[in-house]
């Protein structure tokens, strides 16, 4: 008998033992999330959340939120980056992201103006990191220019570097790089695309 035919034939014979439904695997997956977390080997947990600016990927280490990504950034690619830059021990494990998901929901419902979940800046170093650490101090509904931010972080000439710090913000929405505009008041670029930036600014302007 041809090997493939035989393989199909044997699988059919064993079918009622080996038919695996999605519920069975989902149950095992949840148990694996819990066990991995308990044993301290769940280095990165992630989930997605639906928002008015599309599906957002949220990822957290044990230290805190490490990554937020827009759909347009391709979640699979972002997870691969996390695997090589943080750790490949990554699971879809929503529980760790519950607090930040709740805060993001509240933010989009205009019931929250700042985030207070722990953040893990593992993906940012040096000047970029000091820019990102400053951004949460720009109040909800307010904006600053790239030049303002450069001055505040003590390097007034680094306007362009502020731009690239914003463009590579690993936690958009939560770290409000959308509140940084060009000096002439035009939007400037945004990791989630200009429409998303405009939507976030509109949301905050309507609530403020």
């Amino acid at each position: 008998m041809n090997a493939n035919v035989e393989r199909t034939d044997v699988s059919a014979m064993l079918a009622d033992l080996t038919t695996v439904g999605p519920e069975a695997l989902e149950k095992l997956h949840v148990a694996l999330e819990d066990a991995a977390d308990r044993e301290g080997i769940l280095d990165v947990a992630y989930r997605t959340i639906d928002t008015p600016v599309g599906s957002l990927l949220l990822a957290a280490t044990r230290a805190g939120l490490v990554r937020v990504a827009f759909d347009s950034q391709d979640h699979d690619v972002v997870l691969e980056q996390l695997a090589s830059m943080v750790s490949p021990r990554i699971l879809r494990a929503p529980k760790r992201l519950d607090p930040v998901a709740r805060e993001i929901d509240e933010y989009f419902a205009r019931r929250r103006t700042s985030f207070d979940v722990p953040l893990d800046f593992a993906l940012s170093t040096g000047f970029r990191r000091s820019v990102l650490e400053h951004l949460p101090q720009i109040a909800y509904g307010r904006t600053e220019s790239y030049a303002d931010v450069a001055r505040t972080v003590g390097n007034p000439k680094a306007v362009r570097a502020v731009g690239s710090a914003c463009a590579t913000n690993p936690m958009p929405v939560v770290i409000p790089c959308h509140r940084v505009l060009r000096t002439d008041g035009t939007l400037g670029g945004y990791v989630g695309g200009p429409e998303a930036k405009a939507a976030l600014l509109d949301l905050e302007a309507a609530a403020a």
């Binding site: 044997v10 014979m13 079918a15 033992l17 997956h29 148990a31 695997a83 090589s84 490949p88 699971l91």
Partner: protein, 162 residues
């Protein structure tokens, strides 16, 4: 570059569960699966990027299954006198029907059938996991399949005669 472990679980989770069921049976399969993926996740960062994931997972599942089989046999000895209860428990689920015939095959035949027919590993890889030659693995598989066919045909004949 190494893919996120989640991808390993989604791509190989179903296959590993199938082989666990065929080797340790439906009752212990979930434990075997959980222990396999937990051990795999622990070791994953050290796994070479070009490793054969399927063979690696089957190797881990094989060891976890052996541990479970040993533990079960240790547990089973004192309650050997009450086989009725055990078989009615197993027969109660639809999963148990084929398992009733598979479980009486020698361990090695069940393992080879699972790793070759359910995971798709070549006999050479299976020989490395089980020890012995690939020829011996091939023979164990064909003996096991023949025995299983015989048992299923007999059972079917009895079933229709009733």
């Amino acid at each position: 570059m190494k893919q996120p472990f989640e991808k390993v679980v989604t791509e190989h989770g179903a296959t590993v569960l199938r082989i666990c069921r065929a080797v340790v049976g439906p009752t212990d399969a979930d434990d075997a699966w959980s222990e396999t993926f937990l051990a795999a996740m622990r070791a994953y960062p050290e796994l070479p990027a070009d490793a054969n994931l399927e063979a690696w997972l089957v190797t881990i599942a094989h060891r976890k299954a052996i541990d479970l089989l040993r533990a079960r046999r240790r547990r089973a000895t004192p309650v050997d006198e009450v086989p009725e209860k055990a078989s009615s428990e197993i027969g109660g689920t639809s999963d148990g029907d084929v398992w009733m015939y598979v479980k009486d095959l020698p361990d090695k035949q069940r393992q080879v059938i699972a790793y070759h027919y359910l995971a798709g590993l070549p006999y050479a890889d299976i020989a490395e996991i089980l020890g012995g030659t690939s020829e011996a693995a091939r023979r164990a598989a064909s003996d096991g399949i023949a025995a299983l066919r015989r048992r299923l045909t007999d059972a079917h004949a009895k079933g229709t005669a009733r």
